[in-house]
Amino acid sequence: MVEKTPILDFFTYFFLLAGIIIVGFPIIYAILASTLTLEEVSQVPMPLIFGDQFFVNISAAWSRGDLGTQLMNSFIMATGITIGKIVVSMFGAFSMVYFDYRFRVVAFVSVFCTLMLPVEVRILPTYEMAANVFGPLQPVWDFLQLDSLLSWITQNDVEVLLNWNLLDSYTGLILPLIASATCTFLFRQFFLTIPEELCEAAKIDGASPMVFFRKVLFPLSKTNIAALVVIEFVYGWNQYLWPLLITTDPKMKTAVIGLQNLIPQADDIPEWNVALAAALIVMLPPILVVLFMQRWFVKGLIDSEK
């Protein structure tokens, strides 16, 4: 600031503090509640002092909500989505930026369209797709009379039912969510800013595209990859609607969905202390990821906007 504005400065810090408190209040309150006993948390209003039941509640939440399995499922899902998206889109962006081929623009536009339509819009048919990925191929198969052909070849009655069922599976949790282009764009924008000289030098050296990718692009992209790891991990971990539909087997449920089972329903004893303790555990991994990788994350968010 050019001028001295002590009053304004005071208000600045004041509002910042107020903002931090307001933003942090829900979670502080939840932490409070998770340290209390059932009687204390059921009191109206709830006492505002920390209790000592934190670990008791956490272990109750853990065993009752089968949190171990669910956290593992969430972890596998989030990691799968992160790795899947980053790998697929990095190759895709590389292809779109560093090669000139006939379908390049078509590929670009078709991938771009996925940005605007998140999975929530196409849940039903995507769900049907996941229930049988080979579904659309069945009519084709039947039409081509391939069953008869196979029967003739093997001299046996053959009926082929094309079926690949992704329900209640990790593949089903992960694969359909990779179909979104956010990462591809980030990489594309980033690749466009890389100096041409690097590529030209590689070509002069006779390096193949993949070598260029491995030795030049990849190392340069590390910051972006780090940012995307954060973004996609949080995205994958916090997914709600899709896991809700594709998993009904309780062993396959993710942590965010499983949490709903602990929230006291109309019929249940209001054990908010346990429920909130569970919520804290479930919230923790993505928060940790964000906090530890803050710098890259912020940089990644900003760059994606350009």
């Binding site: 810090y13 509002f15 049907e128 179909a179």
Partner: protein
């Protein structure tokens, strides 16, 4: 995000290879085709049929599903509710984010710590945010609810009263987005050349004046981008909030479009109507995004 102009853009130096680019892009295309385009197409097709849940009877009924939607006063109410919810959430999240970013930008000390303490709600799932805010605002035992009822004397009951329920879900949804917006605004502000603000200060402009004449216009790309993102967020990602907290009630007052798609499709087992709703939702968001790009982006000032 001048994407449209840059579509054909390609590096000056590029590789010539017959098969490699196709191989590289194949996974992405395959997945996009299988899990995006094919289902989207199927959704369009389903919307033209009336089917039973088990898929045994399907009748082609042209656009009857769509007509039924637009005749249904509750569907139109849901459209209105979605817009109201979306605008309230976006306005709240953007203004708070902007305000906090302005404050944080002025702070000379502890910028990193401040950012840390404001950034973490981004990592919280909307569904969990809903649970936290429900716990605070539930009329029977929520501490903020009790404060509102006893100290402010307002009759607060989101279980019964539709507007109260709407306020609750808006709060739960906006809370999370504030930190997302905050990060972008801060970065945007930091990319504004100090020379501009200093020159204005020397010319005698007050901090307020500087904010409105310089900072805000130069932040307009960020503002524009965030508006688009916030609207998309509030249309879709807030499903978790509604499902956890109000299930669309009371009396259908928080029944946003994406929730209705789920309700009618998966709980009500009405495939045709749900698919038609998905198509309408898709169209709506495309229109909103395109409109924003066409008209609002023109007003956006990029530095230079």
């Amino acid at each position: 995000m001048l994407l449209f102009e840059t579509i054909p853009m390609i590096k000056r130096a590029y590789f010539r290879s017959k098969y490699l680019p196709y191989i590289l892009i194949l996974p992405q295309i395959l997945i996009t085709l299988t899990f995006f385009y094919w289902p989207a197409l199927q959704g369009l097709v389903h919307a033209l049929f009336r089917s039973d849940p088990f898929g045994q009877n399907s009748k082609f009924i042209w656009f009857e599903n769509f007509a039924a939607l637009f005749r249904d006063p509750l569907y139109l109410k849901s459209v209105g509710i979605t817009f109201l919810f979306s605008i309230c959430t976006a306005v709240l999240a953007i203004s708070c984010g902007l305000f906090l970013a302005t404050m944080a930008n002025r702070a000379l000390k502890g910028k990193s710590a401040i950012r840390t303490m404001l950034i973490w709600p981004y990592a919280v799932a909307p569904a969990i945010s809903g649970i936290l805010w429900l716990f605070l605002l539930h009329p029977s035992f929520g501490i903020v609810a009790i404060f509102i009822k006893k100290t402010l004397g307002i009759n607060w009951n989101p279980i019964l009263n539709g507007s109260d329920a709407m306020i609750m879900v808006v709060l739960a949804s906006a809370w999370k987005e504030i930190s997302y917006n905050f990060v972008f605004f801060i970065a945007g502000m930091q990319s504004i050349p100090k020379s501009l603000t200093e020159a204005a200060a020397i010319d005698g402009a007050s901090p307020m004046r500087r904010f409105f004449s310089i900072t805000l216009p130069l932040l307009s790309p960020t503002l524009f981008f965030l508006t688009v993102m916030n609207i998309i967020y509030s249309f879709f990602e807030t499903f978790g909030v509604i499902h956890t907290v109000t299930q669309g009630g009371p009396g259908g007052s928080t029944n946003i479009l994406v929730y209705k798609v789920y309700q009618d499709g998966f709980v009500g087992l009405d495939l045709g109507s749900s698919s038609a709703q998905s198509v309408v939702l898709m169209t709506l968001i495309i229109i909103i995004t395109v409109l924003q790009f066409k008209y609002v982006e023109k007003k956006v000032q990029y530095t230079g």
